[in-house]
C-alpha cells in the first residue's frame, strides 16, 4: 500500500509497520525509564538485553549506540532517547548525532533558526528516490 508520508526526506514516520518491527527494541528502551532497570542494564548489559527478543541487528545497534540504525530497524525516537538519556545524552545532542552534523554545528544551526523548510520537503530535493 502506498503511503503518502513516505516522500519526506530524512524522516521515519512511526506507523503500525514500524511499531511491529521495533516492538521489542522499543520495549527495551522504555524499560530504562526506571532506576532499577538502569542499574541492571549498567551492571550486565548483555544479560539485560537477553530479556528482550530483539533481532541480532537491533541488539548490535543498541550495543553500538548506532542512533540512526536504531530508527532504521523500527525504533522510535521517544523510546531510543531513553537509551540516550541512560548515556547522559540530551535530546539536542542526540539530534546533532543523528543528523551527522555533530553536536556543535547542530546547536549553531538551531540558534540561527533551525533547518529551513526550503529544500527539505521531498525526497527528490535530497536526490533520493521516492
Amino acid at each position: 500500500m502506498k503511503k503518502d508520508y513516505e516522500d519526506i526526506p530524512g524522516t521515519f514516520v512511526f506507523d503500525a509497520d514500524r511499531s511491529r518491527e521495533g516492538y521489542h527494541l522499543n520495549q527495551f528502551c522504555i524499560s530504562l525509564g526506571k532506576q532499577k532497570n538502569r542499574d541492571a542494564f549498567k551492571a550486565d548489559p548483555e544479560g539485560y538485553l537477553d530479556k528482550y527478543p530483539m533481532t541480532p541487528e537491533q541488539r548490535q545497534a543498541v550495543l553500538d549506540r548506532d542512533w540512526n540504525r536504531l530508527l532504521e530497524l523500527g525504533g522510535n525516537i521517544y523510546y531510543t532517547s531513553k537509551l540516550a538519556a541512560f548515556d547522559g545524552i540530551n535530546f539536542q545532542n542526540l539530534a546533532g548525532l543523528m543528523t551527522g552534523m555533530g553536536v556543535e554545528a547542530y546547536r549553531e544551526m538551531m540558534l540561527k533558526g533551525g533547518r529551513p523548510i526550503e529544500g527539505n520537503r521531498y525526497k527528490s530535493e535530497w536526490g533520493e528516490e521516492e
Binding site: 526526506p9 530524512g10 512511526f14 525516537i77 521517544y78 531513553k82 533547518r115
Partner: protein
C-alpha cells in the same frame, strides 16, 4: 453550572522544564523563551480557573508500546510526576477534579468518543511543563493553583487522531463540562508543538511561516485549520509537529469567535520552536 472561559495553546518542550528546575531561566539562551510567558503568568493569576482540562501527549512514560490508547482520560484522584529517565521533575503532585472527570468520561462515551479511562497514571513533561510555564516555579511541596483533568492523546504512533476528530472532541468536551451541575471556571489547554523534528537526518526542521499561519487560523478559521491532513503536518512542521493536532481539542471547546489575548513565538528551545497563545471566549 460549569463553564469554559478560555483556552491556552502551549509548547511542552522538556528542556523548558529543565531550565526552570535548574534555575537558569535568566540565561541569554532562555530569557526570550520565558519573557514571552510573563504576561501569561499575570493573566493566569487574575483568571485562575478552578479546573484545567489539559490535553497533552504522553512520551512513552505512562504508556509503552504494549498499549496505545488514542484518547486516555485521567480519572484518578491524583497523578505523580513521572521519572522519564533522569528522575521525576521537582513539581507538585497533580490533583484531579475526580467527579467532573468521570462525568466528562461518561458524557464523551455517550457522545460516541471511545475514551480509555485511566485510574492509575503518572504524568510526564507533556503535562507538567505547560503548568510550570503558566503558573511559574512551584516545588514538590507546593500545590498547583488549579485542579487538572488530563487527556492524553496518542501522537507517537501514526496515525494520530485527525485534526477534525480532535476539534469535534473539543465540542463534546464543552458539552460535557456545560452539563455539569457545579459552578466552576474551567480552562482548556492544548499542548505540544510547534514545528519540530526530533529524529533522523532531517532533525532540527523549523518552519516559522507555517507555525504563524497555524496560530492565525487557530484564532480566525479553526474549522478550515482542522481539515489539514497529517501529511502536511509531517512534511511542513516536521515529524513531531503533528503534535499540533492536540490544539484543536482546545479550540473546539471554545466559542466560534474568540478574543486573542496573547501570543508568543520563539526559536529555538532545544530542537524546536516555542509557540503559545491565549484565547478568551467572548
Amino acid at each position: 453550572m460549569a463553564r469554559i472561559t478560555a483556552g491556552v495553546g502551549c509548547s511542552h518542550v522538556p528542556a523548558i522544564g529543565v531550565a526552570m528546575d535548574t534555575g537558569i531561566t535568566d540565561q541569554p539562551y532562555w530569557k526570550p523563551v520565558f519573557d514571552g510567558f510573563k504576561k501569561s503568568r499575570e493573566w493566569m493569576k487574575e483568571n485562575t480557573p478552578d479546573v484545567i482540562f489539559l490535553v497533552y501527549n504522553d512520551h512513552c512514560t505512562a504508556f509503552d508500546a504494549s498499549c496505545i490508547p488514542t484518547f486516555a482520560l485521567g480519572c484518578a484522584a491524583e497523578f505523580q510526576p513521572a521519572d522519564e529517565g533522569w528522575g521525576p521533575r521537582p513539581v507538585p503532585v497533580v490533583k484531579n477534579h475526580q467527579k467532573l472527570a468521570s462525568h466528562i468520561a461518561q458524557s464523551l462515551i455517550l457522545d460516541e468518543f471511545d475514551i480509555t479511562i485511566m485510574n492509575e497514571m503518572e504524568v510526564d513533561h507533556g503535562l507538567t511543563v505547560p503548568l510550570s510555564v503558566m503558573f511559574g516555579e512551584h516545588g514538590p511541596d507546593d500545590e498547583w493553583p488549579s485542579l487538572v483533568i488530563p487527556l492524553a492523546v496518542n501522537v507517537v504512533q501514526y496515525p494520530a487522531p485527525t485534526g477534525n476528530r480532535c476539534f469535534n472532541l473539543g465540542k463534546a468536551v464543552r458539552k460535557a463540562i456545560e452539563s455539569y451541575d457545579e459552578d466552576l471556571n474551567v480552562m482548556v489547554f492544548g499542548t505540544g508543538g510547534m514545528s519540530h523534528q526530533l529524529q533522523y537526518k532531517r532533525a532540527g526542521l523549523i518552519n516559522p511561516e507555517w507555525d504563524k499561519r497555524f496560530l492565525d487560523m487557530l484564532t480566525e478559521d479553526p474549522v478550515g485549520l482542522s481539515k489539514m491532513p497529517h501529511v502536511e503536518y509531517l512534511r511542513e512542521a516536521g515529524s513531531e509537529g503533528v503534535e499540533m493536532v492536540m490544539w484543536h481539542v482546545m479550540r473546539g471547546a471554545l466559542n466560534d469567535e474568540v478574543k486573542e489575548i496573547h501570543r508568543h513565538y520563539h526559536v529555538p528551545a532545544s530542537n524546536t520552536a516555542v509557540g503559545h497563545i491565549i484565547l478568551e471566549n467572548v
